[in-house]
């Protein structure tokens, strides 16, 4: 190679080619110098038989100079028209990419804006553009004072391009949520300190021996005014934890971030513990504290990743997914999905291997592939009639004449889903038509009491007035020795085994004393409970015995006002108001029945032996919410577990969260799927975005909302700013808090942190929310090169448009002054200026 470079012929060729750049305007000094330097570099050999014709330092070279291949190749680049053509092509390319996103989103392009502008045609375009700039500038624009402007503009743009190449080539951009606090729960005798994210609704249990303590984060308050001591008037972040000890009553512990001295307990119904029991803490051995919740990772924008771990592990291992589409559905078979519309579904299979990423991945070297992608879908269940066991399912539509409608899917044999969520309609299965007569005739709960000895039977409607609590009065049953008091009612309590029970707790006073009867809706579950302890919290001490036969009670729980009953061969509809029945008739599928003026009901579908298929349902284009990004994307994963090939549809998760305690009421998705491998290992997989480690773990000290006058009203126009105070892990400890705000990011170890998302307080709860902040994270290598390029170009423009004519005018004036004594003399500057005007800006 070295020999090749040193050979005379090679040097000659290189010289000829490089000469191309400097040969045209060889009349001015810098180019002469460049030429000499070139010659000196490439032709130093004393044995040389060739010399630069311009330097005329040797005369052996007499043949006409050949244009080399490179010169031939580069000649179009010295054309201004070529540059103009490139600018026009760039204009068209930019317009298409930006204004017509559907072009870059075509199935075989599948590009984001960023990808479109970093696709090879664009890179080629930019490379050609830069080459033209270099060639034209060197070949066609003499480097003289008057041309400094053009040189600067062109150099500036080239510098900008170089800076951009570096910037975009190394750009990393992502985001991450940083949660505000976690609870550390320390109980003497517990195995370890339990940790729980301080987000409303989160709960955990801690076992001490056989007994379990339950903890639930009841609420948080971002601006809790402190009323005590020297901190009076300050606002603190408060977390209220409901504690249920194994024995004794529940209480609420209030923790204030940054003020551990003000931790205190509140006893429901009684207020602050210090006022009712004389000490601040109900359970002094229970130590709950607030700690920063560090975030170690961020997720890269517009990327995909698969996360894997063994069930029970806390850390996810990631496998980046490259080449997954983003805009077009890719499924290999119509059978795999439901569609929202009847339109055609293009069948485009995909088979993308997802190789192992990080070490210690629970799936190891097993084959993991993505075999389907859906841009916007939701898991849906559709029913068809099978020939299996009875499983009545009905799709009922209640609609008003004004166009409002409410669809309910009801399951007669599933007690948790046989009533609509608002309780207005329920669906039952009856063994025969005759049983329709026994359907309740009122929507209100009733307690049926019979005293066989006195032949007394009465129905007590259980209205809020007749349920009187533990301390209410007893109602005597006339003509008997008994009196009763309905303490509470509870409907549809889960028995834990898939069965449900509804009960009324009734205290019964007899001549001998008093007992509590649990009146269930099924006779076999009704029991009496005897015990002397009047303390309502001491229920477990009571002993349950079969009910006293002298007084018989049955409980008819409240029923929905509308009851749809299925029996072999048909459907029966009952409408009960509080006052009683208004309708009881057979109903056909598809028939509209008027319930009241303007309100109708129609059974859209009914399957007596329903069998459900669960598949992703592709949401029709026009029903898709805009600006939700990939939130509703799904992939179909194929994993060879060793025993067999398993398939799972995985919903997209914005972040690979450690567990479901970060779901925060549905604000974040957390939908891992489980599978068992041949060696018995249980693994879970999660579909999210590529994850990277932050330069250092970051924690949120505080998060404030700065508002315009009148405070935050729920409208964005009332917000002035968001301020997150962050701490970064620094050695063993944390740095001092650094505030980041909108338009005011902070830098840590090469990465910039921006304010990008926030936890909006729920409507009507100004103290809520603000439990996490969303940070944008990114690097910005090369921005100063870009900036320098831009500034040079600006200076060049100013020079070319305004300084250059001034220089020319001065020369002109000077020349005129020189020639004014005598007429007819040449004006050299003027000539030069005119000659160069054709190629100048």
């Amino acid at each position: 190679m070295l020999h090749f470079f040193n050979s005379q012929l090679t040097r000659r060729i290189i010289y000829d080619h490089l000469l191309f750049f400097v040969d045209a305007p060889s009349c001015y000094p810098p180019m002469r110098f460049a030429r000499l330097a070139l010659w000196a570099t490439l032709a130093p050999s004393p044995a040389s038989h060739w010399v630069d014709p311009m330097t005329k330092s040797a005369s052996t070279h007499s043949a006409p100079r050949r244009r080399g291949f490179l010169a031939w190749l580069l000649s179009p680049f010295s054309s201004v028209w070529f540059g103009i053509a490139l600018a026009v092509v760039m204009f068209v390319y930019c317009s298409v990419g930006s204004a017509m996103p559907h072009v870059r989103q075509l199935p075989y392009l599948e590009m984001t804006e960023f990808e479109w502008f970093h696709w090879w045609p664009f890179n080629v375009l930019m490379a050609l553009f830069c080459t033209t700039l270099v060639v034209v500038t060197i070949r066609r624009i003499p480097l003289r004072t008057v041309n400094l402007g053009v040189w600067m503009i062109h150099t500036g743009i080239l510098t900008l391009c170089a800076g951009s190449y570096y910037y975009f080539g190394t750009k990393v951009e992502g985001d991450t949520p940083v949660f505000r606090r976690r609870l550390l729960i320390n109980l003497p005798g517990a195995n370890e300190v339990a940790s729980l994210a301080a987000l409303p609704g989160n709960h955990t249990s801690v076992k001490v021996g056989a007994a379990a303590w339950h903890f639930t984060v009841q609420s948080t308050n971002q601006a809790w005014p402190i009323l005590s001591d020297e901190h009076k008037g300050e606002m603190a972040y408060a977390v209220n934890v409901q504690v249920t000890p194994p024995t004794g009553p529940r209480f609420i512990r209030q923790l204030l971030a940054g003020y551990p001295q003000y931790t205190e307990d509140i006893i429901p119904g009684k207020g602050r513990a210090i006022k009712s029991i004389g000490r601040k803490l109900v359970e002094e051995q229970l130590d709950i504290s607030l700690d920063l919740q560090p975030q170690e990772y961020f997720h890269v924008m517009k990327s995909w990743g698969l996360f894997v771990r063994r069930v029970g592990d806390t850390e996810w291992q990631q496998r980046p997914i490259h080449g997954l589409p983003r805009y077009n559905d890719r499924v290999g078979s119509r059978e795999l999905v439901f569609t929202d519309t009847d339109g055609p579904l293009p069948i485009r299979p995909i088979d993308l291997p997802v190789p192992q990423g990080e070490e210690g991945d629970a799936l190891g070297s097993r084959s993991v592939r993505v075999v389907g992608f859906l841009r916007y879908a939701q898991m849906g269940r559709r029913w068809h009639d099978g020939d299996g066991p009875i499983n009545p399912v009905a799709d009922v539509n209640i609609f008003s004449d004004h166009g409002g409608s409410q669809h309910e899917e009801l399951f007669a044999l599933d007690r948790s889903r046989r009533r609509s969520t608002d309780g207005i309609i329920s669906f039952r299965w009856l063994n025969d038509f005759a049983a329709t007569a026994a359907l309740p005739r009122s929507a209100v709960s009733t307690l049926h009491i019979e005293v066989p000895a006195s032949k007394i039977a009465l129905d007590v409607p259980l209205t809020p007035e007749s349920v009187v609590d533990d301390n209410g009065p007893f109602t005597p049953i006339k003509g008997t020795e008994f009196s009763y008091r309905v303490a509470t009612v509870a409907n549809d309590l889960s028995m834990g085994d898939g069965r449900f029970v509804s009960v009324a707790m009734v205290d019964v006073k007899t001549a001998e004393g008093q007992f509590r009867r649990m009146v269930a809706d099924t006779a076999e579950r009704t029991k009496d409970m005897h015990g002397d302890d009047p303390n309502p919290h001491a229920e477990p001490k009571r002993t349950a015995v079969p009910p006293d036969p002298r007084i018989v009670m049955t409980y008819q729980p409240e029923s929905s006002p509308i009851i749809l009953a299925a029996y072999p061969g048909g459907l029966f509809l009952v409408v009960n108001g509080a006052a009683g029945r208004t309708l009881g008739r057979d109903i056909e599928v598809g028939e509209s029945v008027s319930l009241a003026t303007g309100l109708n009901l129609r059974v859209e579908s009914y399957w007596p032996r329903a069998v459900g298929d669960v598949k992703p349902t592709i949401v029709a284009e026009h029903r898709r919410q805009r600006k939700v990004g990939e939130m509703f994307s799904m992939i179909r994963l194929e994993v060879d577990t060793g025993r067999r090939v398993e398939y799972r549809w995985l919903r997209f998760n914005q972040y690979a969260l450690p567990d479901d305690t970060f779901v925060y009421g549905g604000r974040f998705a957390y939908t891992p799927e489980h599978m068992r491998l041949d060696d018995g290992t249980e693994v879970e997989v999660l579909f999210s975005r590529e994850r990277r480690k932050l330069p250092a773990p970051v924690a949120l000290e505080s998060f404030e909302l700065d508002t315009h006058i009148g405070g935050y009203s729920g409208a964005a126009s009332t917000i002035r700013n968001y301020v997150s105070r962050l701490r970064f892990r620094d050695g063993g400890g944390w740095t001092e808090p650094v505030a980041i705000e909108v338009n005011a990011p902070t830098e840590f170890d090469g990465y910039w942190f921006f304010q990008s998302m926030w936890d909006k307080p729920p409507r009507g709860n100004a103290g809520g929310g603000m439990n996490y902040t969303g940070l944008g994270v990114g690097n910005r290598n090369g921005v100063y090169i870009q900036l320098a390029g831009c500034c040079i170009a600006v200076a060049g423009m100013l020079f070319a448009f305004y300084v250059k004519p001034t220089i020319k005018r001065r020369r002109h004036d000077a020349a005129r002054r020189r020639i004014s004594p005598g007429a007819g003399q040449a004006v050299p500057e003027q000539t030069n200026a005119t000659a160069s005007e054709t190629v100048q800006v």
Binding site: S95, M100, R626
Partner: protein
């Protein structure tokens, strides 16, 4: 030569086109006053005193007038309800909601949705043909009509289509919600906290009524009635409450005199109780006046008055018109400046944070540029051209604001959090200034094209029939190109149906072919004017060189018309070239610390770059073509079109990060 002898058919064509367009638009505009004579009570009520009191809403303190206007525009868009003032309608909706159940108050902007609603209503037989004609024209429908079962079902269905109609349905639903008397009274926070802390939440009259007479102790607070208002004197509160109740009663009974007395009393009581921190009455009155006067967008009429003599002076060299034109232009610019200052004073910030402000301020910046350039070129043939350009552009901008109050809403709101940065002022002003200058450059460029047309007419270098076809083909190509583009961009409001699509495509390609063929044959004949017209003139360089008496067309004895227009265009193109580039860089600097990336290929950014590319092409094409002046003007107009595309289409159709400006 008398000026009228210089009038060419192209001028008449343009005038006829403008007159035809204005006539057509005027004829299709709903007549406001024709429908019915105004309610006697509405005329008799004097809401002037309320114009001096403030309402706290959306994180701002604004005058009642401006508050009512903001809310009523959400209900009835740009239409007024039977000529009533917004303030009257607001209170009337609160006090007598029953009167509005069957009155046409809800504005449906989208014509397709309007048509669908009317179809549904007609099918169910609830409206007559007269109603259909009226509603189609005005766009206002009654809440009763919207609550018809068939219409309700249709709206529900349209609302489910998130791509095409959900936005329009949202607007209808919000109009229904806003016109609800409960909502209106909840939003009318008139009463400042008595302790003078105007930045704390203010109270509604309802709150005052509810808490009046509430016992001031902890035990009773929260029992049915809200807690009493701290620091508010019970007697003063009682007085306010009784004034409010009296106003309500008088209003319901239509006793206009009593209403006026109560309004005056209420306004003075509120101001009296509020204390020293209450917003200045002058500011509030000015705000009310400003909004009552269409945000002063009528200034376009003064600009129009300036445009006519300036055009005369530039095109026909009529010197008498010159002075009149300049004086009128300066007067118009003075008014324009005062609108900006008033708005600045009212909102407490420089007006450049929403579309209305961007458009009007950009035009104003254009005016500043024009005045400076007029001063610089006062002794050159370039004079008047800049004033003319600015007058035309400012007139167009203010006309847009005047005639499209829904699209360019002049309401004053708080800036969103992301805009609270010094770079808002640096970047946005630089960009809109460059846009203003690009707009200015378009005018001499168009004049150049007209001049070339006239040359061809006079020299008969192009057959006269073809000279008529050319501009028509140009307009057809531009308009249909725009419609086709909208179709390609899938803009539902302007998308084309199958048949029109075919027609549009045919018209576009046909007119494009005409233009190309004409251009080829013209260039063969060298028809773009006599050789002397092709002379290059340069921009600022000609001004600078000309000053020293150097080689510039300005020093020539009689510079050609082409040279003058070309010189003016180039002065402006050079300026906009630098300003646009600098503005883009400033935007990148801001984006770098605001979004974490200087450049994100956002549509707004890309089209700013595209505009720059066009000017880059312009400057380099000048190096290569023979007839620089002609090509400069063509590309300058093209650059203006791309800039407008960026401003209008990218903002309203292609939404990006820059959705707010």
């Amino acid at each position: 030569m008398k000026w009228y002898k210089q009038v060419r058919p192209i001028d008449i064509m343009v005038l006829v086109a403008i007159a035809g367009y204005v006539g057509y638009k005027g004829a299709s505009r709903p007549q406001r006053m024709e429908q019915q004579q105004q309610d006697v009570f509405a005329v008799a009520v004097d809401l002037e005193p309320l114009g001096q009191i403030a309402v706290q809403a959306d994180g701002r303190l604004r005058s009642f007038e401006s508050h009512a206007r903001t809310f009523m525009s959400l209900v009835s868009g740009p239409r007024s309800i039977d000529g009533q003032s917004d303030g009257f309608t607001y209170l009337d909706l609160m006090f007598r909601p029953e009167r509005y159940v069957d009155r046409e108050i809800v504005y449906i902007k989208n014509k397709q949705v309007r048509e669908d609603v009317l179809k549904a209503a007609t099918n169910s037989g609830v409206i007559s043909d007269d109603d259909v004609a009226r509603i189609t024209k005005r766009g206002l429908v009654s809440k009763m009509l919207l609550n018809q079962p068939a219409v309700g079902a249709l709206i529900q269905k349209l609302g489910e289509d998130l791509i095409r109609s959900a936005k329009q349905v949202d607007a209808i639903r919000s109009a229904m919600h806003v016109s609800d008397p409960r909502f209106l009274s909840e939003e009318l926070r008139l009463m400042a906290p008595p302790d003078g802390a105007t930045d704390k939440p203010w109270y509604t009259m309802g709150r005052l009524v509810q808490s009046s007479g509430a016992p001031k102790d902890n035990i009773h607070s929260g029992l049915g009635k809200p807690a009493p208002i701290d620091g508010l004197d019970a007697a003063a509160q009682q007085e306010l409450v009784s004034e409010w109740s009296a106003l309500r009663r008088a209003w319901r009974d239509e006793r206009a005199d009593d209403v006026n007395t109560q309004i005056a009393g209420l306004a003075s009581s509120i101001i009296k109780i509020a204390g020293d921190d209450y917003p200045s009455v002058d500011r509030l009155s000015l705000e009310s006046w400003y909004f009552r006067n269409h945000s002063m967008t009528w200034v376009w009429l003064i600009y129009l008055a300036a445009v006519v003599p300036l055009l005369m002076s530039v095109i026909y060299k009529w010197d008498g018109a010159r002075k009149v034109g300049l004086v009128l232009f300066i007067v118009a610019f003075g008014f324009h400046t005062s609108t900006l200052i008033i708005r600045w004073y009212i909102s407490g910030r420089w007006p450049n944070s929403n579309m209305f402000e961007a458009v009007t301020t950009s035009a104003w910046f254009g005016g500043v540029g024009a005045l400076i350039l007029e001063w610089v070129t006062r002794r050159t043939p370039l004079r008047n051209v800049f004033a003319l350009g600015s007058a035309v552009m400012s007139m167009a901008a203010l006309m847009a604001a005047y005639f499209l109050p829904t699209e360019l809403s002049s309401g004053i709101g708080n800036k969103m959090a992301a805009l609270n940065d010094v770079w808002l002022y640096i970047h946005t002003n630089m960009i809109i200034w460059s846009y203003g200058i690009i707009g200015l450059a378009c005018i001499p460029a168009l004049l150049q094209l007209r001049h070339r047309w006239c040359l061809a007419w006079d020299e008969r270098s192009i057959p006269k029939l073809r000279l008529f076809i050319l501009p028509i083909a140009m307009v057809v190509a531009n308009y249909t190109g725009y419609r086709l583009l909208m179709h390609a961009l899938d803009d539902p409001a302007r998308a084309l149906t199958g048949n029109t699509l075919l027609g549009m495509a045919g018209a576009f390609w046909g007119s494009l072919m005409v233009l190309i063929l004409e251009w080829v044959s013209a260039s063969e004949r060298g028809a773009s004017g006599s050789r002397s017209e092709r002379g290059s003139s340069g921009g600022a360089s000609s001004l600078i060189l000309g000053r020293g008496g150097g080689a510039s067309f300005l020093t020539a004895e009689r510079p050609t018309v082409s040279q003058v227009y070309d010189g003016a265009t180039m002065v402006l193109v050079e300026l906009s070239f630098i300003m646009l580039w600098t503005g883009i860089i400033m935007g990148a600097i801001w984006a770098d610390h605001s979004w974490g990336r200087p450049w994100g290929w956002d549509p707004k950014e890309v089209f700013a770059l595209n505009t720059f590319l066009i000017f880059l092409v312009l400057i380099h094409v000048r190096l290569k073509v023979k007839d620089r002046a002609l090509w400069t003007s063509i590309i300058a107009v093209l650059g203006f079109e791309v800039m407008m595309f960026n401003w209008i289409v990218v903002n309203f159709v292609i939404t990006g990060l820059h959705s707010y400006a």
